[in-house]
């Protein structure tokens, strides 16, 4: 699952350095895919500070993130270094209130 490629090292660095990281298509201001936009929407509603990383600007990252997490699709959300899931899981957790609880337990600030 993990590997030593430069992309994997960069991904590890990003999720070590930032509490909430979203690997996505497009930028948080201009998502270029409905699934990425949905996750940005949930995080924005919760006023969570996150780093959006556009995989479309870097093909090695686009493939690398899929190998890194053994997950075939983008977006991918990481909180405190842990892979949380893609669009479906994030949406499900947001709607059930689980995501709020997770941010709370991880000590990430958000607006209820």
């Amino acid at each position: 699952m993990m590997n030593d490629s430069p992309a994997a090292a960069r991904i590890q660095q990003e999720i070590d350095d930032n509490a909430v990281v979203l690997f996505m298509k497009g930028s948080p201001m201009f998502p270029q895919c409905g699934f990425s936009a949905a996750v940005v929407g949930a995080l924005t509603n919760m006023q969570v500070k996150f780093k959006g990383i556009d995989v479309l600007t870097d093909p090695s990252l686009r493939d690398g993130i899929k190998q890194f997490s053994n997950w075939p699709t983008i977006p991918q959300l990481y909180i405190k270094g842990e892979f949380i899931g893609g669009c479906d899981i994030v949406r499900e957790m947001y709607e059930s209130g689980e995501l709020q609880k997770l941010f709370e337990s991880k000590g990430v600030e958000f607006a209820a």
Binding site: F35, K66, N70, W71, P72, T73, F83, I84, G85, G86, C87, D88, I89, E92
Partner: protein, 79 residues
């Protein structure tokens, strides 16, 4: 190449024992599906692991031939 709902269902059932699979073609275009998969094999696994099992069952089609599959998974007693 798009996949049919039957293709998706049979691939999931083949790889995940005892799975109950409900597929919906969301737009009727053979490209945007939702799948509800309930299986005892999911017991004790978290959601990421459950989804990974379904993606593994689809043998690399997800993100390729299969652009959009909204996925929901659970073990029978959690449903």
């Amino acid at each position: 190449m798009a996949m049919t709902a039957e293709d998706i269902e049979s691939m999931i059932k083949e790889a995940i024992p005892g799975a109950a699979v409900t597929i919906e073609d969301l737009r009727g275009d053979g490209d945007h599906y939702s799948a509800l998969v309930v299986s005892p094999a999911f017991k004790g696994k978290n959601r990421v692991q459950q989804h990974q099992m379904v993606y593994a069952a689809l043998k690399g089609k997800m993100g390729g031939d299969l652009h959009a599959l909204a996925l929901q998974t659970s073990a029978p007693d959690e449903a």
